[in-house]
């Protein structure tokens, strides 16, 4: 309800003081300091003088770093699209399952979320490694094929394991692995709200399943698609662990560069500027979503 704070000042203060103090002191203040540093420079080994310089931002949009920023965005966008493609049928399957099955499937999709991100990434490494499952499996198939072809006098050469780990492929593969549940849940929520008789009406009027999907299901699931895309895109842009463990030297993402500025390169002002560029990208994505959603609701009256 909407009681004015002036009516019960004591209650208002009791409820409000601790959260506001915490949010300001232990969250907004640290961010503000970083923001300040992004306009400063190292004056000595331990001192940073905030003098309003824009040199850190200029440095950040040099080709090397701009390339990494764009690559981060590209990886995140690719991850989002892949999650959408992989996740949509899953969301449909859950939505139209019987209530019992639905509960189990939702549980199965949410369970990885409760498993440590680091552990999940480590588990993937065993799959993708040179002597991992995928390569071992392919090796077995290859040698069987080779034996078979040897009967006809054309044996295959020795099996060369695929490089699946420590490259860009591994990073996107890992991001999709980690983010997939976050895409499926909003999609499911949107599809579950959809009136089933709309789908039936479309089928009834002569549209096939695919036409119905394209002309009825997707347009009505747009809010779910947008929020699913957002909760996939934002963590992916700023992903640190996945590129760090699964990526190679050329698959650095922006978070890895930021970490280096603070932990090894010791160029805090530049790291701060990169951090804020990353934050602005995040806010931009949220703003775009907010505008799109508002336009849609306004057009609907």
């Amino acid at each position: 309800m909407d009681e004015s704070w002036e009516k019960a000042k004591a209650v208002f203060a009791t409820l409000g003081v601790a959260p506001v103090a915490w949010l300001v002191g232990f969250f907004l203040l640290p961010l503000a300091i970083i923001w300040g540093y992004s306009f400063g420079e190292n004056s000595s080994l331990t001192e940073i003088s905030v003098n309003g310089t824009l040199s850190n931002y200029v440095h950040a949009i040099k080709p090397l770093y701009l390339g990494i920023i764009l690559k981060s965005f590209w990886f995140a966008a690719l991850t989002t699209v892949l999650c959408l493609i992989v996740g949509f049928p899953v969301a449909i399957a859950i939505t139209f399952a019987s209530p019992r099955t639905k509960g189990w499937l939702l549980m199965l999709i949410m369970l990885p979320f409760w498993t440590n991100l680091l552990i999940r990434t480590y588990a993937l490494m065993a799959v993708l490694r040179t002597e991992g499952y995928v390569n071992t499996g392919l090796g077995v198939v290859w040698s069987a094929l080779s034996h078979l072809l040897a009967l006809f006098g054309h044996p295959l050469g020795p099996f060369h394991p695929l490089d699946l780990l420590y490259n860009n492929f591994a990073v996107v593969f890992g991001l999709v692995y980690v983010q997939l549940p976050f895409m499926v849940l909003p999609l499911y929520a949107a599809l579950d709200r959809l009136d089933r008789s709309l789908i039936e009406a479309s089928l009834d009027l002569g549209a096939g399943q695919l036409t119905t999907f394209r002309r009825v299901v997707v347009p009505l699931a747009i809010p779910g698609i947008i929020s699913g895309a957002l909760v996939t895109l934002i963590p992916s842009i700023g992903a640190y662990l996945t590129p760090d463990l699964l990526g190679g030297p050329s698959s650095l993402m922006i978070a890895n560069v930021i970490e280096r500025q603070f932990k090894t390169a010791n160029d805090w002002p530049f790291g701060a500027a990169l951090s804020f560029l990353l934050m602005y990208m995040t806010f931009l994505a949220i703003a775009v979503q907010a505008i799109v959603t508002r336009n849609r609701t306004r057009r609907r009256g």
């Binding site: 709309l198 009406a201 009834d204 002569g206 036409t211 009505l220 009256g301």
Partner: protein
């Protein structure tokens, strides 16, 4: 008149897990009929309709349209269209796009499509509404969009699932006659699902009454009301006084039922062809019971078509409900049993005005009661 069968349900059974929604139903519907599937909620009528549309698949049995088995044909290839209970108007399309959707997916060219959409909108009196979005329409208008959208495809059969249940009482009345007129105009077979007996009786040319997945009776509205074949149908359609008894006499031209629930035996001017001494039920509609003054030594009325002491019982008016055009009397008879009688208020003031706690005679003609064997 020989009617052509358009739809046949042959031994249709539908199970959802252990629940039997539709139980071995066989039914034929003729071309041009306004057919109603009537029954309480959960009786299987909607499931039957949805199987016809193709949204549910029968567990057993076949459905034929024009003699062709459609059990394996998906809903988008069936020559039937449906008006949904929630109307299911696509919220992201304009009215015109909604109505034209079925033609669009069928690949009908633009000019032809526009023309037919216009026609369909005119048919449901929504001319000029094409550009509107569904959320700018009232519930009744949305329903018209759903109607136009289904009719524009010129289906062999139009299916209507509880079409009037979401409308307010006044609009519902108006829509009833409008639907009947519409059906007359387009000449398409209509099948309507409803739980509202008034709706079915008012619109349908023939009704099927269902209960617990079973088909109870298929008949015209007046036959359902006057010649119900079971206690369920008699009780479900209209009001009825029901008395359990024993078939004492059963000859081709007369029958007598002895019942402990009435102080007098019930005499009928026709046979009922039941087993002698079998348990039967007498169904008597309230409007077929006559009221007469009693007390101050007045003799019981004699019914000219029944022997003395038959079809006449004494009672006391315990409750009276004045409804304007008619009045409802709840009369207590010997043993405390209540019997309901109904009188049309023929004049503005009644010479024989009956009132609370007045002793009366109840009587009925030998042709009025229906005797039910189940």
């Amino acid at each position: 008149m020989t009617a052509k069968t358009i739809i046949r349900f042959e031994n249709i059974t539908k199970r959802f897990g252990k629940v039997i929604a539709v139980d071995d139903v066989s039914l034929s519907i003729n071309e041009g009929e306004f057919f109603a599937l009537l029954g309480p909620s959960g009786c299987g009528k909607t499931t039957l309709l949805r199987m016809l549309a193709g949204f549910e698949t029968p567990t057993e049995g076949r459905i034929l349209i024009d003699g062709q088995d459609i059990s394996r044909i998906p809903p988008n290839k069936r020559p039937v269209n449906m008006v949904f209970q929630s109307y299911a108007v696509f919220p992201h399309m304009s009215v015109a796009d909604n109505v034209g959707y079925g033609l669009l997916v069928d690949g009908v060219a633009r000019p032809e499509r526009d023309r037919r959409v216009e026609e369909a909108l005119a048919l449901v009196k929504l001319d000029g509404y094409g550009a509107r979005k569904p959320d700018q329409l009232s519930g009744g208008q949305r329903q018209r969009v759903a109607l136009a959208r289904a009719l524009v495809k010129r289906p062999r059969v139009l299916l209507l699932d509880e079409p009037l249940s979401a409308l307010d009482a006044k609009l519902r009345e108006a829509m009833r006659s409008e639907l009947a007129q519409l059906q007359d105009k387009v000449g398409i077979t209509f099948i309507i699902v409803t739980h509202d007996q008034d709706e079915a009786l008012a619109m349908a040319s023939r009704c099927a009454v269902m209960n617990r997945g079973l088909l109870q009776q298929v008949a015209t509205p007046s036959d359902l009301y006057e010649f119900p074949n079971s206690r369920f149908v008699a009780d479900f359609i209209g009001q009825v006084n029901m008395f359990e008894g024993r078939l004492a006499v059963d000859e081709p031209d007369r029958a007598v039922v002895q019942t402990t629930e009435l102080p007098a035996p019930v005499y009928l001017d026709h046979g009922v062809s039941g087993a002698r001494d079998a348990t039967v039920w007498v169904a008597l509609r309230p409007e077929k019971i006559e009221l007469h003054k009693r007390g101050e030594g007045r003799a019981p009325p004699t019914m000219d078509d029944a022997p003395a002491d038959h079809n006449v019982v004494p009672g006391m008016i315990k409750h009276l409900t004045y409804l304007g055009s008619e009045s409802v009397y709840d009369v207590e008879i010997a043993g405390g049993r209540m019997v309901r009688a109904l009188r049309t208020n023929l004049t503005r003031w009644d010479q024989e005005d009956f009132t609370w706690d007045e002793p009366v005679w109840l009587s009925w003609h030998a042709c009025s009661p229906a005797v039910l064997l189940s």
